[in-house]
């Protein structure tokens, strides 16, 4: 967060504490409140810097804004879908530092200093990511709404090096719902990539 850093905290808090001869860990309850003061920001927009698909974005966001809303409404990366907006469907799945997460349950302000990868960040130009190609080749979708989340989740599964037999793929992809019921082909696509990678 640009308003507040560990360095500023140390200067603002530790220096006075040391200057008056106190170890901050040992001060009495009465002194604690005044010494351990934390910088609060919001609720109005505050500067937030995000790294998405290798690009840096300097934004002004309310602290309550989710990564999902920032991606879609401000960065216009609308491949990441808003399905349930409550951590149930997986359509909003993105990678943060290579790990799959629900962007609807992630605050943008808490994502600073981390690498965000969305469905738009998987391909290299016109060259699709192998998982994207596998979903095409195996017909791993019908309406397509859950597909970006499915593909990103499948890439996360590969990053986590999970076992990729049919039962395990179904278990480890269970955080992504598909109302069309394309599960059999989704599992086949993931297993195809896993086989190629082995």
């Amino acid at each position: 967060m640009s308003h507040f850093s560990r360095r500023k905290f140390i200067v603002r808090v530790m220096v006075p504490a040391v200057a008056i001869g106190l170890n901050p860990q040992l001060v009495s309850a009465a002194n604690v409140v005044s010494i351990w003061r934390i910088a609060r920001v919001g609720p109005l927009p505050v500067p937030v810097t995000l790294e998405v698909n290798g690009q840096t974005f300097d934004l002004a966001l309310e602290p309550r804004e989710t990564l999902l809303d920032t991606l879609r409404d401000r960065l216009h990366l609308v491949g990441t879908k808003k399905g349930c907006d409550q951590g149930t469907c997986g359509a909003c799945t993105v990678l943060v530092d290579g790990k799959r997460v629900n962007s609807c349950f992630t605050l943008s302000i808490m994502t600073q200093g981390k690498r965000v990868t969305t469905i738009e960040g998987l391909a290299h130009g016109d060259a699709l990511h192998p998982m994207q190609q596998a979903f095409l080749d195996h017909d791993g979708f019908q309406c397509g709404y859950c597909t970006p989340g499915q593909i990103v989740s499948a890439v996360g599964l590969m990053n986590e090096r999970r076992p990729t037999d049919d039962e395990n793929v179904r278990e480890w992809m269970s955080g992504n719902l598909c109302r069309c019921g394309a599960y059999a082909n989704i599992a086949a696509a993931v297993q195809h990539v896993a086989g190629d990678a082995a």
Binding site: R6, F9, V13, I38, P43, L107
Partner: protein
């Protein structure tokens, strides 16, 4: 979601102070529970204090042979830990049966044990709920209560505790290490929670601003021989209807130590003490397990839609004991 202020803590005391100072301040780490509740306006904090930079993420062996889990370790980290898998299989199994891979990458174990009930009336602000608004009444008593509790309830609240992890921790005698601005304490996981009684809004003994720093798992034979049985409406990514965490220490075919902890049948993770006692000195066989399972459901009562949980608990206890006793 209501507008909020935000602060990122660089030191535990800073975080604890900020939350203790402001009545409606909350810690946030994984965010999977608090943001969910905020979207439903069940929680409307004025300030979120981000604790994710605090050094509480490590999973380490203790000198006494146990494992210390930093409160900020994610569910995925703990489930995958070789130390946890070897010494406390029930904990790893319970975590892998919880939530989804995405949520397990986000949610921390400190937050997991403090997660709120899934009661649909608690989560719907248009419905009366004593937990949300004390004195308003419990909608579940006469309402849809298929997911609700069959023991430990009161006339004010029959919600169930949803944490798979908490039931598993109960079966391995976990200790919760907490800290406030001025003191630290260690709480047996069983003592962390309180029953609803006349005050369903109070769920645990933690004070405002008290922070869980770590959860310690002491090594034991019954923790090594432990298993988790979870029964749910679908095979994956679903909360439990009934869950059983069991651990058995067996010597020459005789049960020396037993733990039976139940999830999703009580407003807190529920330890079946009498059923455990019934196993001591008995042979580790199905007759003993079946007898203990009968004891485990003593005192249970249903509210209509959830009556099925009582026989389901009995059979799940029997199965969990068989798995942990190696006879399944």
């Amino acid at each position: 979601m209501n507008p909020i202020r935000y602060a990122k803590a660089a030191h535990p005391t800073e975080a604890m102070t900020a939350v203790a100072q402001e009545r409606n301040a909350h810690f946030i780490a994984g965010g999977t529970n608090i943001l969910d509740l905020m979207k439903d306006h069940v929680e409307e904090p004025s300030l979120l204090v981000d604790i994710t930079d605090l050094p509480m993420r490590a999973i380490e062996a203790t000198p006494a042979g146990g494992v210390r889990l930093g409160a900020l370790a994610t569910m995925a980290d703990v489930a995958d830990s070789p130390l946890v898998k070897a010494g406390f299989p029930v904990v790893s199994q319970a975590l892998l049966a919880s939530a989804s891979p995405q949520l397990r990458n986000m949610a921390t174990i400190g937050g997991n044990v403090l997660q709120r009930t899934r009661c649909s009336y608690f989560r719907d602000v248009s419905q009366p709920c004593n937990k949300r608004k004390p004195g308003k009444g419990c909608s579940a008593l006469e309402g849809q209560n298929r997911f609700h509790s069959v023991i430990g309830t009161s006339r004010n609240c029959i919600c169930s505790h949803p944490s798979d992890l908490a039931a598993a921790l109960l079966a391995v005698d976990a200790v919760v290490h907490t800290r406030t601005q001025t003191s630290a304490r260690s709480i047996a996981i069983e003592d962390l929670y309180v029953l609803p009684g006349d005050r369903p809004n109070i769920e645990n003994i933690l004070q405002p601003g008290e922070l869980i720093e770590a959860i310690e798992l002491p090594q034991s034979a019954h923790a090594r021989n432990s298993a988790y049985v979870k029964v749910r409406d679908r095979a994956s990514y679903e909360f439990a209807l009934v869950a059983v965490a069991a651990g058995l220490a067996v010597q020459n075919g005789t049960i020396r130590e037993a733990r039976i902890a139940l999830g999703s049948v009580a407003p807190k993770p529920w330890r079946a003490h009498a059923a455990e006692s019934a196993l001591i000195g008995k042979p580790a066989n199905d007759a003993s397990f079946a007898a203990a399972a009968e004891v485990a459901i003593r005192g249970m009562r249903g509210y209509g839609h959830n009556d099925y949980k009582i026989p389901l608990t009995r059979e799940s206890v029997r199965r969990a004991l068989a798995v942990s006793g190696g006879t399944a």
